[in-house]
């Protein structure tokens, strides 16, 4: 239990040669909920995709340890097997592949001992019920023709089936209706339990009323410029980002003057 669940140190990431993340530091321990906020284009999804191992995101500096292991050396599927899960901001459709077939194959790869077909069906049924989705979704093609909110719910159905150690939720709340936010939140809390680490990316305080974060971080220009507790999210909701930027700007100036 000596290693934290996730340790990000001075992470720099570029896409097509363009630097996006410019030195991210973040540590997440088991059972901790971290909210990550920040303006559009500040690099939140980039961080999420990099942690999951998207091939287009090139790490140019820094390191990421998952339970003490070098995460950046692992293939995408190895990361999944290690316990990393990403709920996508924009889940993609896989035409012709049913949700049930997809999840069954996924669980086969993720788990050592195979679930029986019956166990699997029952478990899937439970998850659908918990997310208030009819189980007819099991035979639909993955995300094809799903409404925005349905896609988000399916991500959490998957999280429930997979039970990851680290769940990165990229704007799972956007696109959900008012009840949807509550339902999804309750389920995230249930699935995460005491041990799962959660990195919750969001623009709104609304979801944080249900999933109460231990830490709130603000990303600006590819860096986390401020961390705090729940009250920081509240403050952002009231005041927006400008004041933070100004403060950060002043700090930066000071630093430069000193250095």
């Amino acid at each position: 239990m000596s290693h934290p669940l996730l340790e990000i140190r001075d992470l720099h990431v570029a896409v097509d040669g363009k630097p996006i993340l410019k030195g991210v530091n973040l540590t997440i321990n088991r059972g901790e909920i971290h909210a990550l906020m920040g303006r559009n284009g500040s690099g939140k999804s980039t961080l999420a995709a990099t942690l999951m191992g998207h091939p287009r995101y090139e790490v140019t500096r820094g390191e990421v340890l998952f339970e003490g292991q070098n995460l950046l050396e692992m293939e995408v599927d190895e990361r999944a097997r290690a316990g990393v899960f990403l709920a996508f901001q924009y889940p993609v459709a896989i035409p012709g592949v049913s949700v049930a077939n997809f999840l069954r194959s996924a669980l086969k790869s993720l788990r050592e001992e195979e679930m029986s077909a019956r166990e699997f069906r029952n478990a899937l049924k439970e998850e659908f019920k918990a997310l208030h989705m009819p189980d007819s979704f099991a035979s639909r093609y993955v995300n094809e023709g799903f409404s925005g909110g349905e896609k988000k719910r399916l991500e959490i159905v998957q999280m429930g089936m997979i039970k990851p150690k680290l769940a990165i939720l990229d704007e799972t709340d956007s696109g959900l209706d008012i009840d949807g936010v509550r339902i999804v939140s309750e389920n995230v809390n249930r699935i995460a339990g005491q041990d799962t680490g959660v990195l919750l990316i969001t623009h709104y305080q609304r979801i944080l009323r249900y999933i109460r974060p231990h830490f709130v971080h603000v990303m600006v220009g590819g860096r986390i410029i401020r961390s705090g507790d729940e009250s920081l999210a509240h403050e952002l909701e009231q005041r927006g980002y400008d004041w933070l930027l100004q403060e950060a700007g002043a700090e930066e100036k000071e630093l430069q003057e000193v250095g």
Binding site: A49, V76, L86, I94, G96, S105, S109, Y141, I162
Partner: protein, 470 residues
């Protein structure tokens, strides 16, 4: 994730590539000549009109130039003088598998035909080289007057019916390879379904080429009388040789008023077979013809199943899927000819190319003058697995009527990086994820197959993908 280059090193294993050492009953000399054609007709004891038909077709074949479109490079590599045009594998046709020569029977066992027959088929025909070596049909169907036999027996036993339709849907002069088939045809299926009879479970024919440099020229004619219904499935495989074989079939379908024919093909020839096939159907008033055409194997396939809708309210549905790996070119498509009012058609074409493979969609939509109220929907989707592969679409529209509704949509996509990432983020390996995406892409085709075939198709795709990424 590995680079797309690795998709080039495909360990494509072809599991039906084994060959038999067979003592043939008769093998014609290599090459094509008047003598060979006359000999085939003579050995079969055919009526004069058929011998004349063959000889006329031979003239046409010799006169007609090779196609100047399509893959002319591969076409020019066919050496017509090196081909065996007729090989007779057995003395007589079996009605039980025990009557089939041991080795040939074993081959079909390996291909799973007798088992499929026991499980889910209403009738089976098995052709080996030039002749049908096994044939069966369920008694209840026979009692209802359903005819299902090899084409040669059909000609002998139902000369009038055959003469009325043979070569009428596809005349020998239609194209060079139809002419070739008309000259040297042997085997294939003859089916007649009497008015109002519904054959609910499929009839199947299986075609096997075994010899090197073999030419297989089966000829199939299906006549569905008024209000009847039939589903026919054909499958084909061949051993792997360093030299090429030629498969050039002609398939004619006649769907009379209100009849329904579904014709399913799972083509899985080895990659040294030229597959140049002409398939055409005529659909009379309110009749429906469905072509479900899957092309996985062969070196070069050129095949464009067609439906001529000649009666009011007729319908044609063509679903064509193709998979082209290294060295393969699947030039496939569909033709729908609306020659009568209120006829409808749908064409769905799906193709996957990988490791430098090529797929081509070639389609024709024709609406004749006076064919009002026509509806036609064409959709072509091509999926490229790497940068070395190629896909082209050549749609032709020939519409002479205003009061019609025609939709055409074509897409070419790459196996999405985003799709792969999504699936892999749930623990699937790159290979599993690719296979899953491809299976999904083929799902509309698999869904139309009997379950056993669909399972087989998925297995084939998994095999094709094995070792192809990594």
């Amino acid at each position: 994730m590995s680079s797309p280059q690795s998709l080039l090193d495909v360990g494509t294993e072809y599991q039906y590539g084994f060959r038999d050492e067979i003592e043939y009953v008769y093998r014609a000399e290599k090459g094509l000549s008047r003598r060979v054609v006359e000999m085939i007709s003579h050995m079969k004891g055919e009526p004069d009109w058929m011998r004349e038909f063959r000889l006329r077709a031979l003239e046409i074949f010799l006169k007609k130039p090779m196609p100047t479109w399509g893959n002319t490079r591969l076409l020019s590599e066919i050496n017509f003088d090196e081909i065996y045009y007729y090989i007779k594998p057995a003395d007589k046709q079996g009605r039980t598998w025990d009557e089939v020569p041991e080795q040939i029977k074993n081959t079909f066992e390996k291909l799973g035909i007798p088992e499929a027959e026991r499980k889910f088929l209403a009738g089976v025909s098995a052709q080996y080289e030039s002749e049908v070596v096994y044939h069966s049909i369920r008694e209840d169907l026979e009692r209802q007057g359903v005819i299902f036999m090899d084409m040669d027996s059909g000609l002998r036993e139902y000369p009038d019916l055959v003469r009325r339709w043979f070569g009428k849907v596809i005349p020998p002069a239609d194209n060079k390879f139809a002419a070739l088939n008309s000259a040297v045809w042997s085997g294939g299926s003859f089916i007649y379904v009497p008015p109002g009879v519904h054959v609910e479970i499929p009839l199947q024919a299986y075609f096997r080429i075994n010899a090197e440099n073999m030419g297989q020229f089966e000829r199939t004619l299906i006549i569905a009388d008024e209000g009847s219904k039939v589903h026919y499935i054909e499958g084909c495989t061949a051993p792997i040789y360093s030299t090429d074989s030629l498969h050039s079939a002609v398939v004619e379908l006649v769907a009379l008023k209100g009849a329904h024919i579904r014709y399913t093909t799972v083509q899985n020839w080895s990659k040294n077979v030229y597959n140049l096939v002409t398939k055409r159907a005529v659909a009379y008033e309110d009749a429906t013809v469905e072509w479900v055409d899957g092309n996985l194997g062969s070196k070069l396939t050129m095949k464009y199943p067609s439906v001529y809708m000649v009666g009011k309210g007729a319908r044609g549905d063509i679903l064509s899927v193709a998979f082209a790996g290294p060295g393969q070119h699947q030039d496939a498509g569909a033709k729908v000819i609306h020659a009568a009012p209120y006829t409808t058609s749908t064409v769905v074409s799906k193709s996957i190319s990988k490791g430098g493979g090529r797929t081509t969609y070639r389609g024709l939509v024709q609406v004749d003058e006076g064919a009002v109220g026509v509806k036609c929907n064409v959709r072509c989707d091509a999926l490229l697995l790497d940068e070395f592969s190629r896909s082209d679409t050549y749609p032709t529209m020939n519409v002479k009527e205003d009061d019609v509704r025609i939709e055409h949509e074509a897409t070419v996509s790459k196996v999405g990086e985003e799709q792969l990432f999504y699936l892999m983020s749930r623990g699937l390996s790159e290979q599993e994820a690719t296979t899953m995406i491809i299976n999904g892409f083929f799902e509309p085709f698999a869904k139309e197959l009997p379950l056993e075939y669909a399972v087989e198709l998925n297995r084939l795709i998994a095999l094709e993908m094995e070792g192809s990424v990594g």
